[in-house]
Symmetry: C2
Subunit: 231 residues, 2 copies
DNA sequence: ATGTATCTCGTACACGGTACGAGTCGCCGT
DNA sequence: ACGGCGACTCGTACCGTGTACGAGATACAT
């Protein structure tokens, strides 16, 4: 009944054998490990998208049997969680940004967050459905500190975090899925022009955004921060 | 090579037979139709979530064979598109809101939008990945008019729409997925309290949001609109 | 009577996640 | 020296999925 490695993840004991003899066979793959699995999963996701990740493909790419994966990870969901968090590290703002400049801090972190997710377009739409990993929690914590330092009332800080989260997630999820569906750009183009007769605004908006998503994100974020700033 | 009903959807010709003889058998299901399929798909999605919708279950519930569905619908993706759009109708603001009150108009539409998606929690996370249906386009169109009437500069209207879209989508997707993962509330609770030692802000935020998501949404939206309003 | 269009559906296939249990290997206590 | 045990690998099998294919059924036009 109990799964082999359910809750407590017993990392294998550092593989002493490998430390002694450098390489067993010339072309043998390095042994499986949670880290290697996650890294390869990210590769696969980047290359093929969410649906491209299957346990079989993952095992192939790792040069192992499918079921071997299940000793290191609980199931496919687990792989998603780990891949997701591995992609969301944050190293903090550059030194250039001074600690007085709360707004610069916040903007830098959020733009970095968005950029990280856009580098791995599968990640954004996955994030809301999965458990919050340590890296996102760290970002939220940092956000909270900056906003408090900005002089925003304690009662409003939560709402502010929530608003910024919403904005970033919405923007990035939407942007990422636009990229993906542009595979069939011809069809999309045709569909849109057909629609723009009935919905005159859409075409205008699309054109503007198509050329400058980054600028639009930054500008909208600016408006939001304007609204959030203490008066 | 050409699919039976690829692009041009040839609606069947009103089933004359049924108009003549009211019911063929006492307990026979009404005939299949795109509308009935979509309505049943929505039922299924509401009851079982995204993964609960399978073509076989859908056919069962409709009392038909699986492959019969494929005459009315291109594929499963098509079903998602149709179900999604069918859930996003908007009837416009109530008469109480006067046409001068652009802000009231916008708030009403956006809150209605969010409410519609939360009534069907599968819908929010699906929306960004799917083609924009007529009902969402209609909402965006309306948004655009209200904002122009508000006196927002033309160049900024696009960014404003984009920002509001982002906010609503982010808020709703996140909220909807919280609901879903609360099935295992015990586990979530434990996980969060364990985390809140390292990330003190999180617990506070969660508590606030847990009790008053609607209020937080409204308040954050207020901040955003403050930032967007012409100065 | 003979098509022809509309609609239904049984069968079959390729592919997905993963349960089960038999293997291999190296270390440790005796 | 040996027996056992824990760490790890993996082949096979099962069931559930979307949907291609093509054989029917029905109604209507000619």
């Amino acid at each position: 009944m109990a799964a082999k490695r359910s809750g407590a993840r017993s990392k294998r004991s550092q593989r002493i054998s490998e430390l002694l003899q450098p390489v067993q066979e010339p072309h043998s793959e390095p042994p499986l490990s949670r880290e290697r699995i996650v890294a390869t999963a990210v590769e696969l996701l980047d290359a093929q998208g969410v649906d491209g990740l299957t346990m079989r493909r993952l095992a192939d790419r790792l040069g192992s049997g499918v079921m071997s994966l299940y000793w290191h990870v609980d199931n496919k969901e687990d792989v998603f969680d780990l891949a997701l968090d591995s992609v969301l590290e944050y190293r903090g703002p550059p030194q250039i940004v001074e600690s007085q400049d709360w707004r610069g801090e916040v903007v830098h972190m959020l733009e970095d967050w968005r950029a990280s997710m856009l580098r791995h377009p599968w990640s954004a739409s996955l994030l809301p459905r999965r458990a919050l990993g340590p890296n996102i929690l760290g970002r939220l914590e940092l956000l909270s500190k900056s906003l408090s330092r900005a002089g925003i009332a304690d009662a409003d800080v939560n709402v502010a975090i929530w608003s910024l989260w919403n904005y970033v997630m919405g923007a990035t999820i939407t942007r990422a899925s636009f990229d993906r569906s542009d595979d069939d750009r011809a069809a999309a183009q045709q569909r849109l022009t057909r629609l723009s007769e009935r919905y005159p605004t859409i075409e205008r908006t699309r054109l503007l955004l198509d050329n400058d998503w980054d600028g639009a994100f930054r500008k909208g974020l600016g408006f939001l921060l304007d609204g959030l700033s203490p008066r």
